[in-house]
């Protein structure tokens, strides 16, 4: 623990400080706020969802393949149920696609019975075997080389960002505070309270929860003086195909998983594209997730092996995300590192599915007697998918700014205002989908540069000055 210089005026005091505004931090902020705690969320970046949560495969997992009797499994199961329970009130989408785990070799085929037994043991009892012929009947564009598999009807597609934005916005609208560009530098305890020094000033809190994702071990060190685990970032690259490709597929197609990874998935996205990925590449760097052409080409080849009709469809986007893996597979949730401190670490690729379950679990672990909000506010998230009417379908939208994704001026204005206003171009994209379509900003970048001028903490353009 490092002592920081005492502040001249008393630091604001909260019941709970959540470090990290990723999907897990957002769900924690929501759970503790609704439970009655006064919460501050500390985020080091200019906007939320800037770390591991910015690049995932946007699947709501059932937990059918999670390690048996693990905390991860329990959190996924609870998170899955909670998402279905609250999504309507928050306006969050759900595309009931179902998944198929497919075997492409005899060795993989031999694994299927074990995987199905594991699914049943995990409480996912509606799995059903499919023969190659059945798989092809369900997905006629599938390569005839498929050898068989099983269906997991409960695996669904969701919006990778609206969920986390919705959790956090509900926390904020019910009294939580978000501090951005507030990197936690150090922590110390005094008179039963935590005093956190951040790059945006000091904060005082009764309970500190570390949800710092890729920086979980470093935050442990800075606050408690030691770390008990090590983040080993695992990079995943993805290829997103044009909307014309989404018609090729219904189910989420999963491979037979290995010890290390769930493997390369082929699925639609909630926004109507088709996605292939991720890779699983170990690296030391926690900041930089680089793409490389040979790997992207290999992903495309793999996608085309599974779904031959994919060949010739245009690529709309490519991206790379980092998962905060650790030296162990299990989630690293601990309460005994320091008093009134909970570490929520090592939430790898299942964080999006498990976030609400993790938050409920941590709330129980914290075991505080807050007075739960009797009648909390439920913000309705804007619809970014075709599962509900979009803003462009309603009058008074002020015109379309991004033509490929049909994003309106009114949607952009909404994303630039309010307690969860976008702080960066990446944040604006995640809230509205601007520039994420076919043309990747060819048509709308100039308009966006005009609209966002002076309004993003991290501006869209580099030099900021005017041309002559």
């Amino acid at each position: 623990m490092i002592d920081s210089a005492g502040p001249t005026e008393p630091a604001p005091r909260f019941d709970v400080a959540v470090i990290g505004a990723g999907v897990v931090g957002a769900a924690l902020a929501r759970a503790f706020t609704l439970a009655g705690a006064r919460v501050v969320v500390l985020e080091k970046a200019a906007d939320v969802l800037d770390g591991a949560s910015k690049g995932n495969s946007a699947i709501l997992h059932t937990g059918f393949d999670a390690p048996e009797a693990s905390l991860e499994l329990a959190c996924i199961r609870e998170g899955y149920a909670l998402y279905l329970q609250i999504r309507d009130r928050l306006g969050l989408p759900l595309i009931r696609s179902g998944a198929m785990v497919l075997a492409w070799s005899e060795a993989e085929e031999a694994e299927l019975p074990t995987l199905m037994a594991q699914a049943v043991a995990n409480g996912v009892t509606d799995v059903e075997p499919v023969t190659a012929a059945k798989a092809l009947a369900l997905e006629p564009r599938l390569s005839p080389r498929v050898m068989g598999g099983f269906r997991v009807p409960g695996e669904h597609l969701i919006d990778p960002w609206s969920a986390a934005h919705g959790y956090l916005l509900q926390a904020l609208e019910n009294g939580a505070v978000l501090m951005r560009r507030a990197e936690v530098l150090a922590g110390r305890r005094s008179a039963g309270d935590w005093h956190l020094a951040t790059t945006s000033g000091a904060v005082q809190a009764g309970l500190v929860i570390n949800a710092a994702g890729l920086w979980g071990d470093e935050v442990d060190r800075r606050v408690t003086g030691e770390s008990w685990f090590e983040i080993r970032p695992r990079k995943g690259q993805f290829v997103v195909y044009d909307k014309t490709a989404a018609a090729l597929l219904g189910h989420i197609l999963l491979p037979v998983p290995t010890k290390l990874t769930k493997g390369i998935v082929v699925c639609r996205t909630a926004f109507g594209n088709l996605l292939v990925g991720p890779t699983a590449e170990e690296q030391d760097d926690r900041e930089h997730a680089t793409l490389d052409r040979p790997t992207l080409q290999a992903l495309m080849r793999r996608g085309e092996e599974i779904l031959p009709a994919l060949a010739g469809h245009e690529v709309t986007a490519v991206y790379a995300g980092l998962r905060p893996a650790t030296e162990e597979k299990e989630y690293r949730i601990r309460t005994d590192l320091a008093e009134d401190y909970i570490c929520v670490g090592g939430i790898r690729s299942t964080g999006l599915s498990a976030a609400l379950g993790i938050a409920a679990h941590v709330l129980r672990l914290a075991d505080r007697n807050y007075a739960a909000l009797a009648d909390p506010v439920w913000p309705l998230m804007p619809s970014l998918t075709d599962t509900a009417p979009r803003d462009w379908q309603k009058p008074g939208h002020g015109g379309i700014v991004c033509h490929c994704e049909l994003v309106t001026r009114r949607e952009i204005e909404a994303a630039l205002t309010g307690p969860l206003a976008a702080g960066s171009m990446g944040g604006l994209k995640r809230r509205t989908r601007v520039t994420m379509g076919r043309c990747q900003g060819f048509y709308c970048s100039a308009g966006l540069a005009r609209i966002t001028e002076g309004r993003l903490a991290q501006p869209m353009l580099g030099t900021g000055d005017g041309a002559d």
């Binding site: 997103v240 909307k243 930089h288 462009w392 379908q393 939208h397 033509h403 580099g462």
Partner: protein
């Protein structure tokens, strides 16, 4: 449901010239454009040469765009900007959204003139990170010429098509100094006079070179260049990803209309008529990429075809289909050639071709074992190639082959 005789989608050179011509022929025309201002791409190409063919004057892009709009308005064309078409329906009904919400418009004929866009960084699978400061030429020109903003100071330009030199001029105008022009092919793509522009502006042109990686987390900090196996780092604060034009065919692909895999645009007959004869197309949507002047002339020609169609003077759709059977040929159009010998009313009199790679050899059009055309070709991708329009004898498929000794 609002009605008009002809709806034109896209207020660029092709759409505006078609609308003007139709209005002069006494047809009621409405042009829809999703941008706030009509005029299309030339609006933000603040350089010459525009307008020589159309107005016998040398003009800059924005002046040219304003002139096209003025001519259309003077002819009685109704232009609706800020109006985005969201769907095309059989028979000539289109869904639109504007500030007032949704609407369905119907017309006896619909002309698609939605133009082209450049290939994105993502679609080129360029490695590295995704920082701010990576722009297409179109985005750069909008930011510089429409906004008066400067996105970076020392970018690299990827590509050497004509548009890359347009980007170079835009940079010069804005006080931006490109560090290098980068071309994956062994020679520059544009006609050779363009190279002098780079020489005069002292911007090195690196051929046989690709961008392997873009570095930087929030802003571009550098690029890694790969040239014949050698990698080297270049410090730069932006990347202009230029060219690689492809038709803006989103509406088309989501519709009932037939798309040509080679051109990325619609399948048309000699009158620019699509697989649903209520729809026509003109301009760069047909094929990447031609000059504004070419698109303007094409728009005028297709306007005459639409006029004839409205009067019932066009032959029934159909004819022989053209099929490209060579990987060296990227596209050939029109793809449907009628059997009728009378090809007036704005019919195309030339076959347009584009190569997929540099090629030299005998190009042949074969039907039923007969050779309809035999030409020697020695050309490069992105170069204009026109051939006499063949006259098919039957509706059998016509194959386009290129005997390339390579």
């Amino acid at each position: 449901m609002a009605q008009t005789e002809v709806l034109v989608i896209g207020a660029g050179p092709a759409g505006l010239s078609a609308a003007t011509e139709l209005a002069r022929l006494g047809v009621q025309v409405t042009v829809l454009d999703r941008e706030a201002e009509a005029g299309g791409i030339p609006r933000h190409c603040n350089h010459s040469p525009y307008g020589l063919r159309e107005f016998r004057r040398l003009m800059r892009g924005p002046t040219y765009a304003r002139r096209l709009v003025a001519e259309a308005l003077a002819a009685g064309v109704l232009i609706r900007t800020g109006t985005t078409v969201t769907a095309l329906h059989p028979g000539g009904a289109v869904d639109v959204t504007g500030a007032d919400g949704l609407e369905t418009l119907t017309a006896r004929a619909v002309l698609l003139a939605t133009g082209v866009r450049e290939t994105s960084r993502a679609a080129r699978l360029i490695g590295g990170e995704k920082p701010g400061g990576i722009l297409s030429t179109g985005a750069l020109q909008g930011i510089v010429h429409l906004n008066g903003q400067r996105p970076f100071l020392r970018p690299v330009i990827l590509g050497t098509e004509l548009v890359a030199f347009s980007a170079l001029l835009t940079c010069r105008h804005a006080g931006i100094t490109p560090v290098a022009m980068i071309e994956p092919a062994g020679r520059i793509t544009a006609h050779s006079p363009a190279i002098w522009l780079a020489r005069v502006l002292r911007v090195p042109v690196l051929t046989g070179t690709t961008i392997a990686e873009i570095h930087g987390r929030t802003r571009v900090e550098g690029v890694q260049l790969l040239s014949r196996g050698d990698r080297r780092e270049v410090v730069t604060d932006g990347v202009i990803v230029s060219g690689g034009f492809r038709p803006e065919a989103s509406l088309l692909r989501a519709s009932h209309l037939e798309v040509d895999a080679g051109s990325g645009g619609p399948v048309i007959d000699v009158w620019g008529r699509l697989s649903d004869p209520a729809y026509f197309a003109a301009g760069n949507l047909l094929r990447p990429v031609e000059t504004a002047g070419w698109c303007w002339a094409e728009g005028r020609r297709i306007a005459r075809a639409i006029h004839a169609a409205l009067q019932g003077r066009l032959p029934e759709p159909g004819g022989a289909r053209l099929r490209v059977a060579s990987d060296a040929v990227r596209l050939a159009l029109p793809q449907v050639l009628p059997l009728t010998t009378k090809k007036d009313n704005g019919a195309a009199d030339k076959l347009q071709l584009r190569l997929a790679r540099p090629a030299k050899g005998r190009l042949r059009l074969m039907q039923d074992g007969l050779c309809l055309l035999d030409r020697r070709i020695d050309s490069l991708p992105e170069r204009r190639i026109t051939l006499p329009l063949p006259s098919p004898r039957t509706t059998s498929e016509i194959t386009v082959t290129l005997e390339d000794p390579r």
